[in-house]
């Protein structure tokens, strides 16, 4: 993250993020996530204009329209590259990506891998309802084998993708899981993710009342538990053990974390600050041209 360092603004309050009508179904898990995001931003004291949200297309991707902040709502599956470009252009922006599981792990699968490898300093909030909501209920990459849908009457033809296991295997620098139904806990995770320097993944379990009959609010409530001090998030094997243990006990919290150089450190040009607002060094250019 950035921008929270030199704060000159007056206190940031919940009201600063506004209150909007949504296009979601009543009871949708997205409401809890939206509320948690706002709480986290207040906790972090980041003002709307210091933030840049980037989202894709889907029900989840509409989220940032429902709070006040800068926003680039791009294409389905392509939020991460847009966010990466924006963060490199202006590292002072606090960048959050919000999108669904289809957007983040399906259409955007290649960018998910690349973002982890780049360790671009931003936060990905993946609203994981394990289904394609906006397009009316097809299997998503995280849909389990037993989930029957209209498009997959015999269940998905693929094994479910486990984003956390892959992220930990790839040494992602911050890997957490939240649940839309535990707002305060989720807000804390989001705040920690934003504070983290590097790529931070928060996979958020999100009930979809319209298309996911398996993973209901209740189903999650019965299975989720919050990680406590006994889990050491710097221990990769421990993180894997938690993630890969049986699905009847689902850990919430920061599963894994490490410190490694972030993407912008690889670019000499960024050592002197953001790219935004610079001007061309004409003398250098003339010299360069003459040297051809």
């Amino acid at each position: 993250m950035n921008a929270s360092g030199d704060r000159r603004d007056p206190e940031v309050r919940l009201e600063d993020f506004g209150d909007f009508e949504t296009a979601w179904c009543p009871g949708c898990g997205n409401f809890g996530i939206l509320a948690a995001v706002k709480r986290a931003l207040v906790e972090l004291q980041i003002a709307p204009h210091q933030l840049l949200f980037v989202s894709g297309i889907g029900q989840a991707a509409k989220s940032p329209h429902y709070l006040r902040a800068n926003l680039f709502n791009g294409l389905h599956g392509r939020a991460l590259p847009v966010a990466t470009g924006a963060k490199l252009a202006n590292p002072e922006l606090v960048v959050l990506v919000q999108s669904g599981d289809g957007c983040s792990y399906g259409e955007g699968g290649n960018h998910f891998l690349a973002a982890i490898r780049r360790n671009i300093d931003l936060t990905l909030l993946a609203h994981d309802n394990r289904v394609y909501g906006l397009t009316k209920g097809q299997a998503s990459p995280t849909s389990p084998r037993q989930m029957q849908t209209k498009a997959q009457p015999g269940g998905p033809t693929s094994e479910a993708f486990d984003p956390l296991a892959v992220a930990v295997t790839m040494h992602a620098s911050f890997v957490a899981r939240g649940f839309a139904g535990r707002q305060a806990h989720l807000a804390g995770l989001i705040a920690a993710a934003v504070r983290h320097r590097g790529f931070a993944l928060v996979d958020i379990l999100q009930p979809c009342v319209s298309y996911n009959r398996i993973h209901t609010h209740r189903w999650y409530e019965e299975r989720c538990y919050e990680l406590d001090g006994s889990h050491d998030p710097t221990d990769r094997d421990a993180a894997r053990a938690r993630i890969e243990s049986n699905q009847e006990r689902i850990p919430l919290g920061i599963l894994y974390r490490n410190e490694r150089p972030v993407l912008r450190e690889r670019f000499p040009a960024l050592q002197s600050g953001p790219l935004v607002g610079r001007s061309v060094d004409r003398a250098a250019l003339a010299e360069i041209v003459a040297g051809f």
Binding site: N73, P268, A269, V276, V280
Partner: protein, 602 residues
């Protein structure tokens, strides 16, 4: 010799034999000596082996295109002779490494160079270079020093190379063949240079420099021939010029990163070729919808699909013109020279910012890779981009975008009032940058309100479509009109676009010199087209022929779509090689012969 002031030197051999470095070494040396030089390379899609060649055309006049006839052929292997001897000029000469077998008629015109005596096989390229220097009449040992300087990063090789050049030149000066028979390839002295020394530059390098000079700060790319060297040039200058250049995981990521960077305030460019561009088309549509400035360089190569990766073609004009779903304005430049690559890329950058949308630079492998001696660009007075603060005063191109819009967007009364997509008479809305102040900058790939939030209001939809399309007016006001050359009311008008410019200019000269009134109409911007800027030229000509590096006549079709006027005669090439002056002249000759023949029959 067909043109006494011009020499065409070709080096041929297998990939990996160092033809490129040898050729460029000689070319740069000749430029430093005051010669005009045009370098074109022909290579296969492989790293070693396979036939490659590099051609240096040298003259005292400005050169605009390569030439087919060869004056001096440096053959690093047997295959070179087989492939290129047919193009040898009547008085042309061959310098052959070792003792290749030769047909009788070539024997007397070939000098066999004893490679093993002069430094050995690994130095073949430098040895032939030394011999060539002698034939060309270059001052002894200057080339050797140049070789040493060029290779300074690899001192051991530098030493050996310089030694080989020196030894070879000394050996050659002793050969009767050189002293007696090679007079025909001897170079006249270089012309005086102005205050600034000429430099040797490729189209792709000029694009990269043009972009930097205009204020581009960000580039993301996925490697693809023949666009790679645009990206590579930006990489090599990134530290010095303060750019971020990132290799992306794929072309989709590349264009979306560039859009993100541009949105956040770093002017951005992507460069790719056909297949990579295909993957970017959704992003093009995104740039248009979110009104994000973006420059897209498309370096064409023969398709469909992977096609011929290292060859040239002009077959993606219609694809680029219509790429992306939905309707939105765009501009497409097609530079015809190294200089135009620089200036039109600059113009594309400024225009992208002014029109807040995608602008294209359409080149091809030939122009991308060909190196030419040029006067260094005067970079001092050139305006540059400042995203969020409008395009600077006096920036060319100017026009209605910067003029007060007929219906100015309402003044903001409070920060919350800022609307990224505010309606305006020009279609362009005031631009702010996210994080640049208290205003919130919001945009959406869905149809959106003036404030940038998604909407399904069908009235807003209609207005937003109209707003975006209104930008075309501004684009039309600042088009680069097609260049006119030669006779104003010609017997024959040659119409072309992009990289074929040089060949068409030279062909025009030849035809006129032969007494045939000829004109040329050359498009450096292929969209938007303003019929008023060229329709009179078409109708003033007794005959019109469209010359294109494709098989279907895409510019001719476009001209008909925009003017109704059909150009029936076509001269098209699609075998992967560039259109040359001689190709045009031959084709016209054949055409004439054919029409003559048909005339003779009843």
């Amino acid at each position: 010799m067909s043109n006494p002031t011009t020499r065409n030197l070709v080096i041929g051999g297998a990939a990996g034999q160092g033809l490129g470095s040898a050729g460029h070494l000689l070319a740069r040396h000749l430029v430093r000596l005051g010669h005009q030089v045009l370098v074109t390379q022909s290579y296969q899609s492989r790293i070693r082996g396979g036939h490659n060649s590099i051609a240096l055309r040298v003259s005292q006049r400005t050169l605009s295109a390569p030439q087919e006839r060869i004056d001096l052929l440096l053959a690093l292997d047997q295959e070179t002779i087989a492939l290129h001897a047919g193009d040898l000029a009547p008085e042309g000469r061959i310098l052959a490494a070792g003792s290749p077998s030769l047909p009788d008629e070539l024997r007397s015109r070939t000098l066999r160079v004893p490679i093993s005596d002069l430094g050995g096989k690994p130095l073949t390229n430098f040895i032939l270079l030394g011999v060539a220097a002698s034939c060309l009449g270059l001052e002894a040992s200057a080339l050797a020093s140049a070789a040493q300087a060029a290779l300074q990063k690899r001192p051991e090789l530098a030493q050996k190379a310089a030694g080989a050049v020196r030894a070879a030149q000394a050996w050659a000066n002793e050969q009767a063949g050189v002293r007696d028979g090679m007079g025909s390839v001897r170079l006249p002295a270089g012309t005086e240079q102005g205050q600034t020394r000429r430099v040797l530059m490729s189209g792709n390098q000029a694009i990269a420099l043009g972009a930097i000079s205009a204020g581009i700060r960000f580039c993301a790319f996925y490697p693809m021939t023949p666009a790679t060297s645009v990206n590579q040039t930006l990489v090599s200058l990134s530290e010095r010029c303060g750019l971020v250049v990132e290799q992306a995981e794929d072309e989709i990521a590349a264009i979306n990163m560039a859009i993100g960077a541009s949105f956040a305030g770093a002017p951005a460019l992507v460069a790719t070729s056909g297949g990579g561009f295909a993957l970017m088309t959704e992003g093009v549509s995104l740039a248009a919808m979110t009104e994000t400035p973006l420059v897209v360089v498309v370096a064409q190569r023969p398709g469909p699909a992977t096609g011929l990766p290292t060859r040239t073609e002009q077959a993606d004009l219609e694809f680029v013109l219509h790429a992306g779903h939905g309707e939105f304005p765009r501009a497409v430049f097609a530079p015809g020279s190294v200089e135009a690559c620089f200036h039109l890329t600059r113009r594309a950058c400024l225009l992208a910012e002014q029109s807040q949308g995608p602008v294209f630079v359409l080149t091809d492998q030939f122009l991308a890779d060909a190196h030419r001696a040029i006067e260094p660009f005067a970079t001092e007075a050139l305006p540059e981009l400042r995203p969020g603060s409008g395009v600077p005063e006096g920036a060319h191109p100017a026009g209605s975008f910067t003029a007060a819009p007929p219906s100015a967007p309402p003044a903001e009364t409070a920060p919350g009032d800022y609307r990224r997509h505010a309606f305006s008479g020009t279609g362009v809305s005031p631009r702010r940058l996210p994080g640049g102040g208290p205003e919130l900058v919001v945009t959406d790939s869905d149809e959106h309100t003036e404030a940038g939030h998604l909407t399904e209001d069908l009235t807003v939809r209609r207005q937003m479509v109209a707003k975006r399309l209104r930008k075309e007016r501004g684009l039309r006001e600042r088009i680069v009109p097609p260049e006119r050359y030669g006779d104003a009311r010609p017997e024959l008008l040659l119409v072309g676009w992009g990289s074929t410019r040089g060949a068409i200019l030279e062909a025009t000269d030849r035809l006129r010199a032969a007494g045939r009134p000829t004109g040329a109409l050359l498009f450096a911007q292929v969209w938007p087209l303003e019929p008023e800027s060229f329709a009179d030229a078409l109708s003033a000509a007794a005959a019109v022929i469209a010359i294109e590096g494709n098989a279907t006549g895409q510019l001719a079709r476009l001209i008909r779509r925009e003017t109704g006027c059909e150009i029936v005669r076509r001269l098209q090439r699609f075998d992967g090689l560039p259109i040359t002056r001689d190709y045009i002249l031959r084709a016209l000759g054949a055409e004439q012969a054919r029409s003559g023949a048909t005339k003779e029959k009843p």
